[in-house]
Symmetry: C2
Subunit: 321 residues, 2 copies
Amino acid sequence: MKKKIAVGIDIGGTNSAFGLVDQEGNMYGESVMSTRNYPDPDQFVEEMYIGIQTLLKALDFAYELVGVGIGAPNANHFRGTIENAANIVWRGVVPIVEKFRRFFPNMPVIITNDAKAAAVGEMVFGGARGMKDFIVITLGTGLGSGFVVGGQIVYGHDSFAGELGHVIVNRTGRVCGCGRKGCLETYVSATGIKRTVFKLIADHTDDSEFRRISYNELTAEMITKAALNGDPIAIEAYEYTGMLLGQALADAVAITSPEAIFLFGGLAKAGKYLFEPTKKYMEMHMLTAFRNKVKLLPSGIAGKNAAILGASALIWQAHNA
Amino acid sequence: MKKKIAVGIDIGGTNSAFGLVDQEGNMYGESVMSTRNYPDPDQFVEEMYIGIQTLLKALDFAYELVGVGIGAPNANHFRGTIENAANIVWRGVVPIVEKFRRFFPNMPVIITNDAKAAAVGEMVFGGARGMKDFIVITLGTGLGSGFVVGGQIVYGHDSFAGELGHVIVNRTGRVCGCGRKGCLETYVSATGIKRTVFKLIADHTDDSEFRRISYNELTAEMITKAALNGDPIAIEAYEYTGMLLGQALADAVAITSPEAIFLFGGLAKAGKYLFEPTKKYMEMHMLTAFRNKVKLLPSGIAGKNAAILGASALIWQAHNA
């Protein structure tokens, strides 16, 4: 019997990763290619097709290709497009699913945005197996979210639901890339915690290694490392990040009443420095009916292949349905 | 051919209304009974059964009873219970569906909370016919909400999703009945706008008819009437209410991306005094991707029978599925 294999593709602004994944979430070969060097999306798709064929030829068993799942920023699940993605070289509305279908004509090609792919990955391969109502928060450069309600991803009317990163937490707060002020992701994200460190340096006099580093040099990983080493500014920055995330999650819980919330991505690697304040403030600000009922968990598919696994999970979810 | 009829029941703290509704939303008889006078829920159900039989006997056509739909505060849709409802005389967890099933054994008996029943009513009989993603906001003593995603009511893990009234809009704000501070419903509800009028009287010197009225005498209807008559405090109170509602809706849109939001209940009768500021501030605070796309509409089933229609719609939705 042939082994069923799905392709998972994670399209990013700089690079795009892709790999072959079976129904249990095992990876059979993966690769990466530049996105930025392909201003023509047709050339990008053709090059990736060649890369996928190369991975498939290297398989040492008989396989059946069952579909192509794609995670990408600004993806419109319903239309199969990437729409006005600020961080990708392609302008306007790109019918990326149609382009992939030319190369993979007899199987499903499904696209969704990065955070929703992470949520599907969590449901199919991760800690949300068996759950019907949960939220995945992706903490990267920005804050993405995938809401699952009754076993279904919340797409909303136009496929762009799940923008928890753009809920306002302070109407006179930090300027956001979206043109507004005080969005959650200006505080809770890799960029947000850098901004918080600089705010704390301005407000306090504690010594900190960050006083010797420029904003552009600073990374969220450095803040995590410093917190683990006991740096007071770093620990305070995580406390503040967790407070704002916990408060926002308490509000989100009031709307969709999930069984669990998963934190995914770079900042989640700070472990207790992020999880403890987040949990504390989430419970403190929660409506009584929900208090101490919602699990706050690290992603069950964390790791370098998580985005590819999540994209392939779009196919396995459809396949298993 | 027998005409199909569903029972719709709206259980309230003081009184409970019930009626017979056909598939098109026509009412064939309705009645009301006391809730408060029946501390024993078994007696309440028996009395209501007698009332329903009386309505059925009065029908002058052959009918088939297809189910009983119930809207009630603190209803748990999954368990068929009313749980710790502060405003109802019954204490603890009442298995109300099981009690009704004894009298209506061979048909579905379905319960949900008031706001979710309003949302189902909107979907089956009202302005949301044909929509798959929308929100209904019920503006009564408090603020209730029913979120519909992909054609399904958002119940969440425990059936208690949809508490938009308890999203925090000001963490140092007004004391809420839930024990916290600054919940949306302390500003946006019949009670909330009364509080706003008293705040405005304290802050300003404008003459207003409300300077001659006590808090306990004041009603939301009086504020609506005064706004229609040009009272500056009343108009300002609606402006403030609409601002906070609009801002909260902009955040809610970022999460579920609805096609439309329906305002239902007493305050919505203020018409432009509520809708104009709500729309203005909603658009002003909306993420660009959603701006000028989400319709803000009055309920399409407004009227004194709306709660009965909504409850009966639970049956018609299941019947038509």
